[in-house]
Symmetry: C2
């Protein structure tokens, strides 16, 4: 577990063994079974999560009961309802487990302390968040462009393993297309 997380951090920063051990103290391990919820819409939340193993989904249910998938998260991804986290309001997303998961959980308070104690971790989070920002901007572009085929191809190229681990109906929901359109796209 620690090896996975250290490797993830060291893609951006360099750490001594002691530093890594001290950083790890700010996290707690959380294990959940398939179908369990990490975050439920409507609840107050105070944590974000790094995925050691397993697969999760973040989703939003609108007033008509239609469910939109905001994000999948598997090994080496971070997930939370960041809007709720930074505005300290109730979660609007559900985050549930599509497989059994092992997570490293970080509270807002611990993140603050961690960044104060290790400016290098502030750097890590800034770089990681910037990458996340760019990823979302690309997704907006693809949605504005209304180009389902390019969305499908990009997702497949970036995360082929998602297509083996996630039911097709959920992939279709993430891409914002119907199940039929997805079938057509996957046959091109």
């Amino acid at each position: 577990m620690n090896v996975v997380f250290r490797k993830h951090l060291e893609e951006i920063i360099t750490l001594t063994d002691t530093e890594f051990e001290q950083i790890l103290l700010h996290f707690t391990v959380k294990r959940l079974k398939k179908h369990q919820f990490v975050i439920q819409a409507g609840s107050l939340i105070d944590h974000e999560y790094f995925v050691i193993s397993g697969l999760l989904r973040s989703s939003y249910t609108n007033e008509d009961g239609k469910v939109h998938i905001i994000q999948f998260a598997m090994e080496n991804w971070w997930i939370s309802d960041y809007h709720a986290l930074i505005t300290q309001t109730n979660a609007i997303f559900d985050i549930d487990c599509l497989e059994d998961v092992e997570l490293l959980s970080l509270s807002s308070g611990s993140k603050k302390k961690l960044c104060e104690e290790f400016p290098i971790m502030e750097h890590f989070f800034r770089v990681k968040t910037t990458a996340g920002y760019v990823g979302l901007q690309q997704r907006i572009l693809s949605l504005l462009n209304n180009d389902a085929q390019s969305r499908y191809q990009k997702l497949f190229a970036q995360y082929p393993v998602l297509f083996q681990r996630v039911p097709k109906a959920l992939i279709a929901s993430y891409l914002g297309v119907s199940r039929e359109t997805l079938s057509r796209l996957s046959n091109i």
Copy 2:
């Protein structure tokens, strides 16, 4: 000019006069006239910009020549082609001025030095980027929800001044709706 920027930074961090002066040394002032380009798609870029005054637009032109507006930026906003900036590839966005602008320009090298010299600036950028990430996530949600009316209302509530300064056709493009749909929405 300096007052505007200092106030912006001090929404998140606290600075002494000396610190602020040293931080400011990493930026250069850039003035451009309406219609001029700050960034042109296809070019290599190395800067991001803080808007002191004026209004800009970031847009993407797809293969069919259709233009999508990615972002507007006015006073107190940051703008660049962040994908190009972090991956050091050619810009895919055009950024042009809808009004005369005064910008503070920050190169990648200066940002790196600034964050090393002032960890508090690393903190500032992390917090700012997280807020940007959350904003984009909300926009994705609204696009997936295909709810033009809520997109219109949110934009109007957040930035009423945009509707006075930006031509209606550009607002429609930003919202991903036709000019006719926008007229209908603005009459609701």
